[in-house]
């Protein structure tokens, strides 16, 4: 077990930021911590890193209790903060070297590590640049390089792709997978479903300081009612026929806009066949038919509710 | 009038720093005007020197007579006979002159020996010379009686000297067109006002103009269905109103502080015209700086150096009268110099005639000339930049 968090409680005054939050992360995982803004992701990370005081609970990393002065543990962690944390006055190379130097004393080794990190995030052409001159995506990459240059066993990335263009984002995500293949355990927080879906082997969905669901993406998708969405192109569907469709087994909702019928189903099998049978029975002719499996987005919205945040 | 409204919303955000300047200014002017409060004099008075007598000889009639004589018209400060304390007092001009009387001085003086007093003074200073003169006068008169009439007792001798030294020359104080009543307090207020005006205006005007000149914001303004001329006109109107408001506020404050004296002052219209001209100068400098500076952090540095530099070199903090001619010649190429010059002239006005007010109006016109020049340069730079960008 790389990270073991039990019953973590954290209050900000009256606000309960973490409500008996528990988390177990195994060696070699790419673990996604998913939740809307203000759900407590960053608070949880800061508690795990012993930056924040918490009211209750235990935190172990690498099987040892995590404390502010647990330097041997810190030695093996790499953190990429949500906010870009680099020195404005130092160049790309100097920044990476500085932070790497806090972990690695040997100069020769450090030089190699810094070089690797620069190549890893693709900043070879920007070695001498100062952060002010870097674009948003490059700055994020520098931020990542500063966190991972010392080859940690555990890498925690707190929304590293906020405000990053798709190209940079993809290269960042690929990089993270590469780090994982090299043996690092990854903890990744985000509120972008596609990213998490793309790279994470296991996911926790949290909101209001609580764990709402844990599992692989397949397991999570299986948990929700909206098993699949069926779309049929057709004309002349009557209101009572729509009502009848809504009453079919496993159907949770149906809409019709004059050309297209959309039916949401929860679980069950043969939903499409049952629907098409009904339509044939009503002697309705239809055009294209397609069924979509649920996305993590559906799962997320389903679990955390669809109302707007913040 | 959206732009115009936005102007004042931005202004409100930079309000705290303006308040800091105002508070500092009021504090300084109060201290300074408190300092010169009791300077107004009627008729001729002998300058009063702060001095100390350290008597190591004892309380003899001769020394008592000398001390009494020195204390006439001067301010005798009581200091202990402690070397460091004396040095301290002299350095910070608590006293400008210290007389040290060694033991046995009186006996040796009366015995006809040639003896001297030690005097510690600001080297080569006028006050030092004046005090020397007083002591010489007393002792040489005493010597005169001692030598001419050796039979006198010490008391008789002291009395005779005191009688002689009571004789005074009559002095007439002649009044010309200049004000001899001392400079009115509010003139100092108006002098320091130059610093506040310029510091406040550069900082505020530049902050606002730089907000409007941010590339993105500027682009967004340019995309709006509003002629550029209208945008510029509204910003200019905002600046103008802000300038007038600042000026009016400082003037209002001066009425609050010096009400009566100011209202009965004949040079008031010129005082107002002079400050208004300088407000325009400050505005133009604000324009110029904002056309040159791009970042807010650099702005605070520039505004401090420009405002302090201008005021130090032009004699806002230190009276022009005591600055070296070379510096003043250089300063005459700066607008603040003309402001201070006009202000000083207004302060020493006794009667208003075309002869006395002429130079003042000239100074004011020169300031307006500076303002116009700065505006033109700022416009030129802005225009160049726009062309360059296209």
């Amino acid at each position: 077990m790389v990270i073991n968090v039990q019953n973590l409680v954290k209050r900000y005054g009256n606000l309960l930021a973490l409500d008996h939050f528990s988390l177990q992360i195994e060696e070699g995982e790419v673990f996604g911590l998913l939740g809307p803004n203000g759900s407590g992701k960053t608070t949880a990370i800061n508690c795990i890193l012993s930056l924040l005081k918490y009211d209750k609970g235990t935190i172990e990393i690498f099987g040892k209790p995590m404390r502010p002065d647990a330097y041997s543990i810190k030695q093996d962690i790499g953190i990429v903060m949500q906010n870009v944390a680099v020195f404005q006055e130092l160049s790309v190379q100097e920044n990476i070297d500085y932070f790497c130097g806090l972990y690695v004393k040997d100069r020769q080794k450090r030089r190699e590590l810094v070089e690797e990190a620069i190549e890893f995030v693709g900043l070879q052409d920007f070695r001498k640049f100062h952060p002010k001159k870097l674009s948003g995506g490059l700055l994020r990459r520098l931020n990542i390089a500063c966190g991972i240059a010392h080859k940690p066993r555990l890498i925690i990335l707190d929304e590293p792709t906020v405000a990053v263009d798709p190209q940079s984002r993809n290269s960042i995500l690929e990089g993270i997978l590469k780090l994982n293949q090299q043996g690092a355990t990854i903890v990744y927080t985000s509120h972008y479903m596609e990213e998490v879906e793309q790279i994470c082997s296991r996911i926790v969905i949290m909101d209001k300081g609580k764990t709402l669901a844990t599992g692989t993406k397949e397991q999570l998708k299986g948990m929700i009612k909206g098993g699949e969405t069926l779309t049929v192109e057709l004309f002349g569907l009557k209101e009572e026929q729509l009502e009848a469709i809504r009453r079919l087994p496993h159907v949770t909702g149906a809409e019709y806009d004059g050309t297209r019928l959309t039916v949401h189903c929860s679980g069950g099998a043969h939903n499409l066949i049952r629907l098409l049978d009904y339509l044939r029975g009503q002697e309705l002719s239809f055009g294209r038919v397609y069924a979509e499996p649920p996305t993590l987005n559906d799962v997320f919205l389903e679990i955390t509710g669809k109302h707007l945040r913040d | 009038m959206q732009v115009f409204k936005a102007f004042f919303k931005v202004l409100r955000a930079s309000f705290p720093s303006t308040v800091v300047y105002l508070a500092v200014f009021i504090g300084i002017s109060l201290i300074f005007s408190g300092n010169v409060m009791n300077n107004a004099v009627d008729g001729f008075t002998v300058e009063s020197v702060d001095l100390a007598v350290i008597n190591r000889d004892g309380d003899t009639p001769l020394l008592r007579g000398l001390t009494d004589y020195l204390s006439e018209g001067n301010h005798l400060v009581d200091l202990p006979d402690d070397s460091e304390r004396l040095q301290d007092a002299l350095f910070y001009r608590e006293v400008s002159y210290i007389v040290l009387v060694e033991g046995g001085f009186t006996d040796r003086f009366l015995a006809g020996e040639s003896v001297t007093l030690d005097a510690v003074k600001v080297p080569d200073s006028t006050t030092g010379y004046y005090c020397d003169q007083l002591i010489e006068k007393y002792l040489s008169t005493a010597r005169l009686y001692r030598e001419a009439n050796p039979g006198l007792t010490e008391e008789q001798l002291t009395a005779a000297v005191a009688e002689d030294l009571a004789i005074e020359t009559s002095v007439t104080l002649k009044e010309y067109d200049v004000n001899t009543q001392g400079t009115p307090n509010f003139v100092y207020y108006y002098q320091y006002m130059a610093y506040v005006l310029i510091a406040m205006m550069i900082l505020t005007i530049c902050t606002i103009l730089m907000v409007f000149n941010q590339p993105d914001l500027r682009r967004r303004n340019l995309c709006a269905p509003l002629p550029l001329r209208s945008v510029n006109a509204q910003v200019t109107l905002g600046c103008a109103i802000f300038t007038v408001a600042c000026w009016a506020m400082l003037i209002g404050l001066s009425f609050l502080l010096y009400g009566k004296a100011l209202l009965s002052f004949a040079g008031l219209p010129m005082l107002l015209a002079n400050t208004f001209a300088f407000a325009l100068v400050s505005l133009s400098i604000g324009f110029l700086v904002s056309s040159l500076v791009k970042s807010f952090t650099v702005l605070s540095a520039i505004s401090n150096v420009v405002s302090l530099g201008l005021c130090f070199i032009s004699g806002v903090f230190v009276p022009q009268a005591i600055m070296s001619p070379g510096v003043l010649t250089a300063a005459s190429f700066l607008p603040a110099y003309w402001y201070v010059k006009a202000n000083n002239a207004i302060g020493s006005l006794a009667v208003l005639t075309s002869e006395t007010t002429g130079p003042i109006w000239t100074s004011i016109l020169i300031q307006l000339g500076f303002a116009a020049a700065f505006f033109s340069v700022a416009l030129f730079i802005t225009k160049q930049r726009r062309v360059g960008n296209n």
Binding site: A85, V86, E89 | V41, Y92, L144, E168, I313, F317
Partner: protein, 380 residues
């Protein structure tokens, strides 16, 4: 590890151009302004130069030979010259007085009358001279009446010559009040070290900056990080102070006395005080906004104001009415330390200043330590 933190920090700070401006260039610029504005003050207000006077040509003046001789005696060019006399007509004398070319007009008819247009030191000297003449004449008249045989020749010739007063000094230094502005300026430079201290404390606290968070999760002992930062800022700031000092001494020609070693010690101690002050303020106020910087500037400038940076008289007032302030205000202590080195030969008061400064710095350090000792934060 210490060395790594130290060099990294030094790199950062030496590239912080804005702070370099405030801590190095600004004092230099301000010192230059001081020099321009005050450079001439000593010469004009205090230094003695002979008083110019106009004598109205008249029969009375021509007849009074004793007075003419006396005037001649005191207006001989040379070291003891008291007056510069021009004998002119009445209207010309009036014009000279009005335009300020002379300080007074003398009219002689039996007695001597003085006309001036304002009260001042030169006018007082003129009056004292004329008083002396009148008094001596009276005394001689009286004595001759009592004792017609007395030999009084040459008594009037003594006028204006010094014989009883021996100019003494308390120590070798010239008591130039304007120096206080430069001492105080150096005190300001020292206290501006607080900007570096503030930056240090910002970059080390996870609840204040993202950089602080990142550095807190590194396996560097917190004390190592704090001390590395502090050492780097101290080295840089002392170097800055020495540059300012060198500029004042070698370019502007300001004298700081001869005790170079002690002057350097004062710079070092002042710098420590400044940096520890800024660190403490940074730890005390946890907010992220610019308020801290504004507050720091305000406090620093107020302390400097009390030490006489803007008006030297302030120091005299404080010494007279609230001497305690001088013993707790770091700016006043630094200013006074420079002053002591310049004026005094003994070091008692100097070491008192330095001692108190060390004490204040120790308090700030202790306070900062207590404030950032905790390593977990209630909120970030």
């Amino acid at each position: 590890m210490f060395l790594h933190v130290f060099t990294g920090r030094l790199k950062c700070l030496t590239r912080d151009k804005l702070m370099l401006f405030w801590t190095l260039l600004f004092p230099v610029v301000l010192g230059t302004f001081f020099n321009i504005a005050f450079g001439n003050i000593m010469n004009i207000t205090e230094e003695f130069s002979p008083v110019k006077v106009a004598v109205v040509e008249s029969a009375g003046y021509q007849q009074n030979e004793a007075f003419r001789q006396t005037l001649d005696a005191v207006s001989q060019p040379g070291d003891g010259q008291l007056l510069i006399v021009s004998v002119v007509g009445g209207e010309e004398a009036d014009r000279l007085l009005k335009s300020g070319e002379v300080d007074g007009i003398l009219e002689v008819d039996g007695e001597v009358r003085l006309t001036v247009k304002e009260s001042g030191m030169n006018q007082s000297i003129l009056k004292a001279f004329l008083d002396e003449y009148a008094q001596k004449s009276a005394a001689i008249g009286k004595l001759l009446r009592e004792n017609p045989q007395a030999d009084l020749s040459g008594l009037l010739d003594d006028m204006g010559k010094e014989s009883f007063v021996n100019e003494a000094t308390l120590s070798g230094a010239k008591p130039d009040t304007m120096l206080n502005y430069f001492f105080s300026l150096l005190a300001m430079t020292a206290l501006y070290g607080s900007f570096w201290g503030l930056r240090n404390s910002t970059d080390i606290q996870p609840n204040v900056s993202a950089l602080g968070s990142r550095r807190s999760v590194a396996p560097t002992h917190k004390m190592t990080a704090v001390l590395g930062d502090a050492a780097a800022s101290l080295v840089l700031h002392v170097a800055e102070m020495l540059l300012v000092l060198a500029y004042l001494i070698f370019v502007l020609g300001i004298s700081f006395g001869n005790q170079v070693g002690y002057v350097l010690l004062t710079c070092l101690v002042g710098s420590v005080t400044g940096i520890s002050f800024g660190t403490f303020m940074g730890c005390l106020f946890q907010k992220r906004d610019g308020l801290k910087t504004a507050l720091l500037i305000a406090v620093t400038l107020f302390l400097c104001f009390l030490s006489g940076l803007m008006m030297v008289d302030i120091r005299t007032y404080i010494n007279l009415y609230a001497p305690v302030l001088s013993y707790i205000n770091p700016a006043a202590l630094i200013t006074d330390a420079f002053y002591c080195l310049y004026v005094f030969e003994s070091h008692t008061r100097y070491f008192l200043n330095i001692g108190i400064l060390c004490g204040i710095s120790a308090l700030f350090c202790l306070g900062s330590y207590l404030l950032i000792r905790r390593q977990k934060y209630a909120s970030i």
